[in-house]
C-alpha cells in the first residue's frame, strides 16, 4: 500500500508539471500578439507594458519565460495590473470560502445520494423508485444559477429564513457559518445528488445479483448487513472516483455560478470577475490552481480506491 501511494504521488507531480507547461503555452504562447499586452489588461499604458515585458522575460526564450511565469505564480509574486492587487493573497482570501462551500456540499450530496440511490435500488421498479427517478431528473435538469437565484429570492429575501448571501468565518461563529452556507450547499448539491443517486442505483442493482451477495445471504446475515457490507462497498467504487473529481473541481473554483449567485467571494467568483475584466494574471493563476487541485484529488481518489478495492494495489 505504501509503495502504491508513493508511486501515485510521483505520477501526480508529473501530471502537474505537464499541466503547468500546457497552461503556460495556452496563455502566453498560442494566442497571437504580445503576451505582455494581454497581461497588462485593458487600460494599460506603454510604460507598464514595457515593464511587464522586462519583468516576465517576454523578450527571452520560452524556457526562461516558463520558469519566470511559474516562479511568479508560486511565490505569490503575481499581481493583477488591473486591480493592482496581489493574486496569491486574493486566492488565499477566497480559499476558505470555497473550501467551506465544497466540503459541505460534497458531504451533503454524497450522503443524500447514497441514501436515495440505495433506497431506489431496493425499491427498484416500484412507485418509490419511479418517483425518485423523476425527482433526480428534475434535479439534474435545473441549472444552478436558476435554483440558486430562486432559493435566494424566496427563502432568503421574501421569507427571510436564511441570510441573503454573505459569509461568516467558521472560526468566528460555526453556527452562523453553517447558517449562511445552507442555501449554497443545497443549490450546488442538488445537481450532484440527482446524478450520483442514479449512478449508485444502477451499481447497486448490478452488484445485488453477484454470487457473493447470494453467499452473504446463505450465511444467514441480515438484509441491512448484506446491503451495507457486501453490496454498498462494491457499488461505491465508481462513485468515489466521480466524487473526488467533482470535489476537486469545486474547490479549484469550479463552482463559479454558485459562488456568484450567493456572492460568496470565493476562488470561483474571483476567477469569474477576472474573466469579466479581461484581467489575465488572476485567470492564469486560478486555472493552474484548479488544474492542480483536480490532479491532487485524482491521486487521493486513486489511493482511496485502492483502499476500497484491494485488487488495485497490486497493479
Amino acid at each position: 500500500m505504501g509503495r502504491f501511494v508513493v508511486r501515485r504521488l510521483i505520477q501526480m507531480l508529473l501530471v502537474m508539471f505537464a499541466v503547468s507547461v500546457l497552461t503556460f503555452l495556452i496563455f502566453n504562447v498560442i494566442p497571437n500578439g504580445d503576451p505582455e499586452v494581454r497581461m497588462a489588461g485593458r487600460q494599460a499604458n506603454e510604460s507598464t507594458i514595457a515593464a511587464i515585458r522586462e519583468e516576465w522575460g517576454f523578450d527571452e526564450n520560452l524556457v526562461v519565460q516558463y520558469v519566470t511565469t511559474m516562479k511568479k505564480v508560486f511565490t505569490g509574486d503575481l499581481q493583477s495590473y488591473y486591480t493592482q492587487l496581489p493574486v496569491g493573497e486574493e486566492i488565499l482570501k477566497g480559499l476558505p470560502r470555497t473550501i467551506s462551500l465544497a466540503v459541505g456540499a460534497a458531504l451533503l450530496w454524497m450522503f443524500v445520494a447514497i441514501c436515495l440511490g440505495l433506497y431506489s435500488a431496493v425499491k427498484a421498479g416500484r412507485f418509490a423508485d419511479r418517483f425518485l427517478t423523476i425527482i433526480a431528473l428534475v434535479g439534474i435538469s435545473m441549472p444552478v444559477f436558476w435554483v440558486g437565484a430562486l432559493m435566494s429570492y424566496y427563502l432568503g429575501f421574501k421569507l427571510g429564513w436564511f441570510p441573503n448571501g454573505g459569509y461568516v468565518e467558521l472560526t468566528e461563529d460555526p453556527i452562523d457559518w453553517a447558517y449562511h452556507l445552507i442555501l449554497p450547499w443545497t443549490a450546488l448539491a442538488i445537481l450532484f445528488i440527482g446524478f450520483y443517486s442514479r449512478v449508485l442505483r444502477s451499481n447497486v442493482l448490478d452488484t445485488i445479483n453477484e454470487d457473493y451477495v447470494r453467499t452473504a445471504r446463505a450465511k444467514g446475515l441480515g438484509e441491512r448487513q448484506i446491503l451495507i457490507r457486501h453490496v454498498l462497498r462494491n457499488s461505491m467504487i465508481p462513485i468515489v472516483t466521480l466524487w473526488g473529481l467533482d470535489f476537486g473541481a469545486v474547490v479549484g473554483g469550479g463552482a463559479i455560478l454558485t459562488e456568484t449567485v450567493f456572492d460568496l467571494q470565493g476562488v470561483g467568483q474571483y476567477a469569474a470577475d477576472a474573466v469579466g475584466q479581461l484581467d489575465v494574471p488572476p485567470v492564469l493563476a486560478t486555472t493552474i490552481f484548479l488544474a492542480f487541485f483536480v490532479t491532487l484529488m485524482n491521486a487521493v481518489v486513486d489511493i482511496l480506491y485502492a483502499y476500497l478495492d484491494p485488487r488495485i494495489r497490486l497493479q
Binding site: E210, D211, Y212, R214, T215, A216, R217, A218, K219, G220, L221, G222, E223, Q225, R229, H230, R233, N234, L308, D309, P310, R311
Partner: protein, 350 residues
C-alpha cells in the same frame, strides 16, 4: 443408513417462476428424505431443477416472480413457508451451502477471514479473537497452508481450488447438520476436483454432516454418494442407493446418463454416446413422461405421468418413473452385452 429419523424431509416441492416466456415450472413435485450423515447426490442435466431445489431449501430462490408449493421439514422447522427471520437462523448455522463458482462466490473486497468470522458471529456470540482462532483452525482443516497468514488475504490472492476450500471452511464454520454443495467441483481442474472431493469425504467422517451434492458429474457421484436422485425437467425420475442406480438402473434417462460416461475399463468408443435431442423447455414441457420425446422405448402409456414408486422387487427404496415392466427394462437397457446405455431413437415418420 436410512433407518434413522430423517433430518430433512422434502415433500412434493414445486417451484415456478413467472418469466416473459410464461410460467417456468423449474421444480415439479420433488420429494426426498435425507438421513443424518448421509450423502445424497442429486444428478441431472443443466436446467433439470437440481440447483433450484437445493437453493430453495435455503430460501435463496425467493423473489417476487417465484411461487412455491410443498413443504420441507428440517428438525421441526418448515423451510418453504418460513419467515426470513426463521430462515436466517437456519442459514449458515444449520444448513450451509457451497456454491458452484468459487471465483465469484466470495466478496472481492473483504478479507477471507472476515468473511468467515462474519458468519460465526452472526450465529454465535463469539468474541473477535476467538472467532479468528476458529477460522485459522478451519482453514488448516480444509488444507490451506500457512493459514494464520492467509486468513488476512483477499480472495484474489487465492487460486480457484483454494477459494473453494475457503468456501468449504466457511460452510463448516458453524458445524451445520446439512451441507448443500451445488456443483462444488464443476469450475475446477480435474486434479483439484479430486482433492476437494477427498476433503469433503474426510469432513463428512469428522463432522457427521449430511451432504446434498448437486452435480451433473456421475464420476463425482460414484466417489462419494450413498444415495442418488436423478432429476429430469423438474422431476425426480429415479432414486435409489448408489449400487441400485449404477448396477440396476430403471429409468431410460439414467441409462443414457450412465452410457455417456467415459470408462477406462472398456475399449474406447469412437464417439462418446450422447442422449439424442435436447431437454424440454421448462415453460412448455411434454405431457406425461417428460423424457418421452427423447426416449427410444416410448409407447402408448407414456402420455400419462408415471408416478415415482418402487417397481423393482426386493428394492423397496429404489423408486422410478417409467411405465416399462422390470423385465422389459432389463433387456432394453443393454446396448451391448454387459453394458448399459440408451439405444438410438428411431425416427417416427412425420
Amino acid at each position: 443408513m436410512n433407518d434413522a429419523q430423517p433430518l430433512l424431509t422434502v415433500d412434493d416441492l414445486r417451484v415456478s417462476f413467472a418469466t416473459e416466456e410464461g410460467t417456468v415450472q423449474a421444480v415439479d413435485g420433488v420429494s426426498f428424505e435425507l438421513a443424518p450423515g448421509e450423502v445424497l447426490a442429486v444428478v441431472g442435466e443443466s436446467g433439470s431443477g437440481k440447483s433450484v431445489t437445493a437453493m430453495t431449501l435455503m430460501g435463496l430462490t425467493r423473489s417476487p416472480n417465484a411461487r412455491f408449493e410443498g413443504q420441507a421439514h428440517y428438525k421441526g422447522t418448515e423451510l418453504i413457508g418460513a419467515s426470513e427471520a426463521e430462515l436466517r437462523r437456519v442459514r449458515g448455522a444449520e444448513i450451509a451451502m457451497i456454491f458452484q463458482d468459487p471465483m465469484t462466490s466470495l466478496n472481492p473486497v473483504v478479507r477471507i477471514g472476515d468473511q468467515i468470522v462474519e458468519q460465526i458471529q452472526e450465529h454465535e456470540g463469539v468474541p473477535d479473537q476467538q472467532a479468528r482462532e476458529r477460522v485459522v483452525e478451519l482453514l488448516e482443516r480444509v488444507g490451506i497452508p500457512r493459514a494464520r497468514e492467509r486468513v488476512d488475504n483477499y480472495p484474489f490472492e487465492f487460486s480457484g481450488g483454494m477459494r473453494q476450500r475457503v468456501m468449504i471452511a466457511l460452510a463448516l464454520s458453524c458445524n451445520p447438520s446439512v451441507l448443500i454443495a451445488d456443483e462444488p467441483t464443476t469450475a475446477l481442474d480435474v486434479t483439484i476436483q479430486a482433492q476437494i472431493l477427498q476433503g469433503m469425504r474426510d469432513l463428512r467422517e469428522e463432522t457427521g454432516a449430511a451432504i446434498i451434492l448437486v452435480t451433473h458429474d456421475l464420476g463425482v457421484v460414484a466417489d462419494i454418494a450413498d444415495r442418488i436422485a436423478v432429476m429430469y425437467a423438474g422431476r425426480i425420475v429415479e432414486q435409489g442407493t448408489l449400487d441400485e442406480i449404477f448396477y440396476d438402473p430403471q429409468h431410460p434417462y439414467t441409462w443414457g446418463l450412465l452410457g455417456s460416461i467415459t470408462r477406462v475399463d472398456k475399449p474406447r468408443p469412437e464417439r462418446l454416446p450422447a442422449i439424442a435431442g435436447l431437454p424440454p423447455s421448462l415453460a412448455d414441457r411434454p405431457e406425461g413422461c417428460h423424457f418421452r420425446p427423447r426416449c427410444p422405448h416410448e409407447f402408448a402409456q407414456c402420455t400419462n405421468v408415471p408416478p415415482l414408486e418402487a417397481r423393482v422387487e426386493g428394492q423397496p427404496g429404489h423408486l422410478d418413473r417409467c411405465w416399462l415392466s422390470a423385465e422389459e427394462k432389463r433387456t432394453k437397457r443393454e446396448v451391448r452385452p454387459g453394458e448399459i446405455g440408451l439405444a438410438a431413437k428411431e425416427r417416427t415418420p412425420a
